[in-house]
């Protein structure tokens, strides 16, 4: 029996294994492969997007670099221009204006000759300087007359005479500078003599005739003349004229290139500005034409541009020039290749392209000409143009960042994700990187969704399958158990039938053959036959009752029944049947037992079953006690034995049909497994209850409690 149980268990295990192999494993494998396939697909897509992104980034880089390259080659071209070699500043300015200033990518240009001050050909160039003593060195007689005029002006303070002499000297002076100087002297003396009108005229002549001339201290004469004219006009009360002249001076001041130093520029700017503002604020301001105001506003804007340019030049002077000077001092033979230089100043990158200027022999290096890249233009226009040329996938964002990762473009990436692609510029010039962000990656997102969907679907499926399989396995296990119980039942029932039949047959044969002659022996034979017949009858009755119960056809005939009499009868019947030594059966009645409405036959059958069980499981020499008592409400009939007992785990199951306790099975005492089921049914049909108490090895007690019907 135990082995059978083991086989049943193993069979279930096999079932579980089969399920595992046929359903669970393939499902798991399938899901793993599915998820992996999607992951591969995702990886492939990501790779593809990365490749596309990289191509785009490289395209952008190439676009930007080609622009820078164009500037570089232009620079390389002009560095060898004779104007640069010959230090012809006017020509240099023209050249720079034409070749460099036209390119919006170029911010400021810087020019540096060996052992000379740095110049900014687009903004600041030195005008031709007059030798300090040119007037004196030229003609001694002329010089004497100049001194005479100066004496008249400064010592005698005879301004009119001095003015006349200056005018005369103007016609005699040879150089343009000297002429301008003489004219200035005349105008100055006229101004001092309060002849403002004439002074203004002379100043105008200077301004228009000698725009490029400088004072001995290097100041532009034209500009100074205009400023003086403004003062004269103011003195003369001609505010309109003063404003107009001031505007001319303003225009002159903002012209490029300028020779004015930073301080001079600022001083003059404020002088001119004050003069114009004074007019505009004064009584006559209302009469000022709209054109005037418009031009003034335009010039003011130009002024701020100039200021910026000067600031940029100042920055270059401070940050880059020392480096250029160092390079220049170290340079030997002429190198035609330009070089690149970048400096980070206050978070802003200063990008400079520089080309060497050959000396007159063409073998050495005379200087450097450099251009600063206009970062704003590079970032805004060039980059957006490059972006326009590139086809980007949806959700791809291009961010240009410096090497530290700070974004340079205004569009600041909100995503903290790693860039899809990062590309650096060649030679780190500009020292930036192009980063492509994929926010959010649409294709990947869909793929992720799909993967998650697959994953959860498969997982759910597996869980459902596992649960279903578990249920099926359990049901099959249960079925198998029932089948086994049924076959056990059939074999035990047939054994139960066969044993008394064999016994009866053997005894009867001997009796019939006349082999038994001794009357005592014959009695013994008949007694055993009777006993076996009783057993068979009980068995058949049990089976019949059971099948009736199963079919729901069992009927009870209730009548007032004397339980004590029935119990006594049953005990006696068992005692009588006991041929040889068996357990002792005692019957005890405690108190008066009222009549119970019961089916007498069923009641005695139930009791017979209990006593039969007790006898079966109680060894000889031990006792069985059948007790009957009443508490006024119920009649309690109990059968207590000192047999093998019931295992605690099985106590609850003893009333189940076909159930036979393990302990009972070990005894090789066979039964149908129906007895207690029948007893329970009978008791419950009487409205009673049945209880069992048992201790393994010590015995069991079954109590039937019947209510006393009023």
């Amino acid at each position: 029996m135990l082995e059978n149980l083991g086989i049943a268990l193993r069979k279930q295990k096999k079932l579980v294994l089969i399920f595992f192999l046929t359903i669970f494993l393939p499902a798991l494998t399938l899901s793993v492969f599915g998820v992996r396939a999607i992951r591969n697909e995702r990886f492939r897509l990501a790779k593809q997007e990365e490749n596309e992104g990289r191509r785009a980034a490289r395209f952008i880089r190439a676009d930007v670099q080609s622009k820078i390259e164009a500037v570089t080659s232009a620079l390389k071209g002009i560095a060898r221009d004779p104007a640069f070699i010959g230090k012809d500043h006017a020509a240099i300015h023209d050249l720079a204006e034409k070749r460099l200033a036209a390119d919006p990518l170029i911010g400021q240009a810087v020019l540096l000759y060996r052992n000379e001050e740095a110049l900014f050909p687009l903004l600041l160039v030195p005008l031709e300087r007059k030798p300090a003593d040119s007037s004196k060195a030229g003609d001694a007689a002329l010089a004497a007359r100049i001194r005479r005029a100066e004496a008249l002006e400064f010592v005698d303070r005879n301004f009119r005479a001095a003015a006349a002499l200056y005018l005369e000297l103007t016609t005699l002076a040879s150089g343009r500078n000297l002429q301008a100087e003489m004219l200035t002297g005349q105008a100055r003396c006229l101004q001092k003599s309060a002849d403002y009108k004439e002074a203004v005229n002379v100043y105008a002549r200077i301004a228009s005739g000698y725009p490029d001339s400088l004072t001995p201290s290097g100041l532009p004469l034209g500009l100074l003349a205009r400023l003086q004219a403004v003062e004269c006009l103011e003195r003369a009360g001609n505010s309109q004229g003063a404003a107009k002249t001031a505007l001319d001076a303003y225009r002159e001041l903002l012209k490029k290139p300028s020779a004015l130093s930073e301080d001079q520029f600022k001083t003059y700017i404020s002088l001119v500005g004050e003069a114009i503002d004074a007019v505009l604020a004064g009584e006559e301001g209302a009469q000022v034409s709209d054109e005037f105001r418009a031009e003034y506003a335009g010039l003011k804007k130009l002024q701020s541009d100039r200021m910026e340019e000067r600031a940029a030049a100042g920055l270059l002077r401070k940050e880059v020039i020392p480096e250029l000077e160092r390079r220049l001092s170290q340079s030997g033979a002429y190198i035609s290749n330009p070089y690149r230089l970048s400096r980070n100043v206050g978070g802003r990158d200063l990008l400079l392209l520089a080309a060497w200027i050959p000396d007159r022999t063409g073998e050495g290096t005379a200087g450097i000409v450099g251009v600063q890249i206009n970062n704003d233009h590079l970032l805004a226009d060039v980059l957006s143009e490059a972006l326009g040329n590139v086809q980007l996938n949806d959700g791809v964002e291009v961010v240009l960042a410096d090497l530290a990762g700070r974004p340079l473009s205004e569009k600041i990436s909100t995503s903290k994700a790693l860039p899809l692609v990062t590309e650096y510029f060649e030679d780190n010039f500009p020292p930036w990187k192009i980063e492509l962000f994929q926010t959010p990656a649409k294709g990947l997102e869909i793929l992720d969704l799909r993967r998650n969907f697959y994953f959860w679907t498969i997982l759910t499926l597996i869980v459902v399958l596992a649960f279903g399989a578990f249920l099926i396995a359990r049901t099959i296990g249960h079925e198998m158990e029932i089948l086994k119980i049924k076959s056990d039942f059939v074999s035990s029932v047939s054994h139960e039938f066969k044993t008394p039949l064999t016994s009866i047959k053997a005894l009867m044969e001997r009796l019939v053959d006349g082999k038994v002659r001794d009357p005592g022996k014959m009695d013994q034979y008949f007694s055993i036959i009777a006993q076996d017949t009783d057993r068979l009858t009980r068995l058949v009755n049990n089976l019949l009752d059971f099948s009736k119960i199963e079919e729901g056809k069992k009927e009870y005939i209730f009548a007032d029944t004397d339980v004590a009499r029935i119990a006594a009868e049953q005990v006696e019947a068992f005692k009588k049947d006991q041929v040889q030594a068996g357990p002792e059966i005692r019957f005890e009645i405690i108190g008066d037992i009222p009549a119970v409405r019961a089916d007498a036959e069923a009641l005695s059958r139930a009791l017979a079953n209990l006593i039969g069980n007790a006898v079966k499981f109680t060894p000889p020499g031990k006792a069985i006690r059948v007790g009957l008592s009443s508490d006024g409400k119920n009649v309690v009939l109990d059968v207590k034995d000192e047999g093998i007992g019931i295992h605690p785990d099985e106590v609850g199951k003893v009333f189940e049909k076909f159930f036979q306790g393990k302990n009972a099975l070990d005894q090789t005492v066979k039964g149908t497994g129906l007895g207690l089921t029948l007893v329970k049914h009978i008791v419950e049909a009487h409205g009673g209850r049945i209880f069992v108490e048992s201790r393994l090895g010590l015995g069991s007690k079954f109590s039937m409690v019947f209510p006393i019907k009023a």
Partner: protein
Amino acid sequence: MPKKILIVEDEPGIRLSISDELESVGFRVLTAENGEKGLAAAGREKPDLIILDLMLPVLDGTEVCKKLRMRGDRTP
């Protein structure tokens, strides 16, 4: 001296009929109603033959046989 036969059988009817039958043909028959008693009787009486039922209370036939053989008893 008649041969001694031990019958170990729990069913009284079968036990009785076999023992009577064998006695009537001249054997000395001993009986035991369970395996334990059968084992004890086999040791005590040294029967010439043991007729052993397999399904017995307390000790079943197979067990009895095993124990007998383990004791070195070669009784058929």
